[in-house]
């Protein structure tokens, strides 16, 4: 589903490459943690998959897309197969919960009858049925992240990228979010989550890819955050 083959990425402003000869292969339906200290290349990794960046070297593919080489006009098609959640939720504060979720479908031209059918379904999936008409500021952090996840998942993406989704949440709420990510993963969606959260990684016992200084230093099938950290 996701393949990086000998991928390097150097930024003009930096002497050290952000990613240095990285090769990772993620199968369909896998749940993968991407860990490593700040500046280890996690964000660059995710940005390459979304074609926010192009690699300096190597090949990136997601689903059937040759991400690095595809023409710009096809990038929207790639992004429609990827859902994203972030540490800071990125909700639209002037729209209600259901409008926030519907927005993701409206802007890719989905017909109205599809939207009115699908949005309540996905809100139920993330446990927000009954809060469809609330504004984001009326919700707790955990609930806001659920809205963001509903928005990321509403178009049934093949891949869900989560960049520190629990970074702003307390441990209990984080646990709820992880349960939700697992549920999404069980629908067959490949989940790739970048995180610093030891306890989550340790409790989930999923595949762990660890980056350091732009290199993959560990790739465990059923890993923990790290021994002695």
């Amino acid at each position: 589903m996701i393949q990086l083959e000998s991928v390097s990425k150097a930024y003009k402003t930096s002497t050290r490459p952000a990613l240095d000869d990285v090769s990772v292969d993620v199968d369909k339906g896998e749940f993968v943690f991407l860990i490593g200290p700040s500046g280890s290349g996690k964000s660059t990794f995710l940005r390459l998959l979304l074609r926010e960046e192009v690699p300096s070297k190597g090949r990136v593919s997601v689903s059937n897309f040759d991400v690095a080489k595809m023409p710009r006009r096809k990038v929207p098609r790639l992004r429609q197969t990827i859902g994203c959640v972030f540490q800071d939720f990125r909700l639209l504060n002037n729209k209600t919960v259901s409008e926030n979720v519907a927005f993701a479908l409206e802007v890719i031209g989905k017909p109205k009858h599809t939207i009115t059918k699908v949005v309540p379904e996905v809100l139920e999936l993330v446990g927000l049925d009954g809060k469809a008409d609330r504004m984001p500021h009326e919700l707790s952090g955990g609930e806001q992240q659920r809205v963001a996840m509903a928005r990321a998942f509403v178009n049934r993406p093949l891949v869900l990228l989560a960049d520190e989704p629990t970074g702003n949440l307390d441990p209990d709420t984080s646990q709820d979010i992880m349960l939700l990510l697992e549920r999404i993963n069980r629908t067959g969606t490949t989940v790739l989550m970048a995180t610093h959260d030891h306890s989550i990684v340790d409790s989930m016992r999923r595949r762990v890819v660890e980056l350091d200084h732009g290199r993959v230093i560990r790739d465990d099938r059923r890993g923990v955050y790290g021994v002695g950290r």
Binding site: L50, R72, R73, V75, P76, R77, L78, R79, Q80, T81, I82, G83, C84, R90, L92, F103, A104, E106, V107, I108, G109, P111, K112, R151, N155
Partner: protein, 299 residues
């Protein structure tokens, strides 16, 4: 593409940034109004030129001596001047006007000012040859040829006076276009700035749109349309302004010239000026919007 979505984004954008929107619309309206005024002036000048040149003639005034003694222009040198004019290739017709006819015409022209008519005597007016040319623009040659002939007092070229008059109107037109161009530059810069501000205030939306895979059209069309909508409103205001200026000021001013400057008709404003302004406005705002988005907004 869902039109209702794009449309609601446009309305939200214009309302969110309402002071800038108004500034953008007003400068556009002023610039287009000036431009339209210039176009109307061009049309007026064309109309005047056509109607005046039909009547323009060169008048060859004869000396006191001929005016007093040669009543029918049959003696020398009047008759030879006349036949020389008649045989000239450029000349369409020659009409002799003696003193008495000149006096009658004088009376007619100054009917409204009897004190002036009372002062004038037939003896104080010269006889003359009224020459009509095929091409009034070529009167200069005639003036040179006959100006110094014996028996000729002076040659009056109406075209020369008209030239000066039209020069004045033409520079008025040029001035209008220059001010219109400067206002247009201000309008273009305002449009560019408004789109940048608009894109900046909506960066979260645009960011999400890009992430969920909205096409370039979806992310950028609302901004582009914002500029175009403002341009269209500006054009409409510009046309309304022109119509207002016509009724409030120009009609009275032009009427005061006694028909020397023809009235601007409503139909002249509605066609072709109004559609031209609308077209120009849409084109310029769309191009400005497109270039700004290309240059400043990431996709």
């Amino acid at each position: 593409m869902r039109a209702s979505f794009v449309f609601s984004e446009v309305v939200t954008g214009l309302r969110r940034n309402v002071t800038m929107t108004i500034a953008m619309i007003l400068t556009t309206a002023i610039s287009l109004g000036m431009f339209g005024g210039g176009l109307l002036l061009v049309r007026t000048i064309d109309k005047m030129q056509a109607s005046y040149l039909d009547d323009v003639e060169v008048t060859v005034y004869l000396t006191q001596d001929i005016s007093a003694n040669d009543q029918n222009c049959t003696a020398e040198p009047c008759s030879s001047i006349r036949s020389a004019l008649e045989n000239n290739q450029a000349v369409e017709s020659v009409v002799f006007e003696d003193r008495n006819e000149a006096y009658e015409r004088f009376q007619r022209i100054f009917e409204g000012q009897p004190e002036l008519v009372e002062l004038a005597r037939p003896e104080s007016l010269p006889a003359s040859l009224h020459v009509k040319l095929f091409d009034p623009e070529r009167s200069e040659v005639l003036v040179q040829e006959f100006g110094n002939q014996p028996g000729v007092a002076n040659v009056d070229d109406q075209n020369k006076f008209l030239d000066r008059f039209f020069d004045l109107l033409n520079s008025g037109r040029d001035g209008t276009f220059i001010v219109a161009a400067i206002a247009a530059l201000a309008a273009v810069l305002l449009i560019a700035n408004t789109i940048q501000v608009s894109a900046y205030t909506r960066r979260t939306e645009v960011g999400i749109m890009r992430l969920v895979g909205a096409t370039r059209w979806y992310t950028q069309l609302p901004f582009l349309l914002e500029a175009v909508v403002a341009g269209v409103i500006g054009a409409i205001l510009g046309v309304v302004g022109l119509i207002g200026v016509k009724y409030i000021a120009l009609d009275q001013i032009f009427e005061a010239t006694g028909g020397a400057i023809p009235k601007i008709e409503m139909i002249d404003i509605l066609f072709p000026v109004a559609p031209v302004l609308l077209g120009v406005s849409i084109l310029i705002s769309a191009i400005t919007g497109y270039v700004t988005l290309r240059a400043y907004v990431r996709t």
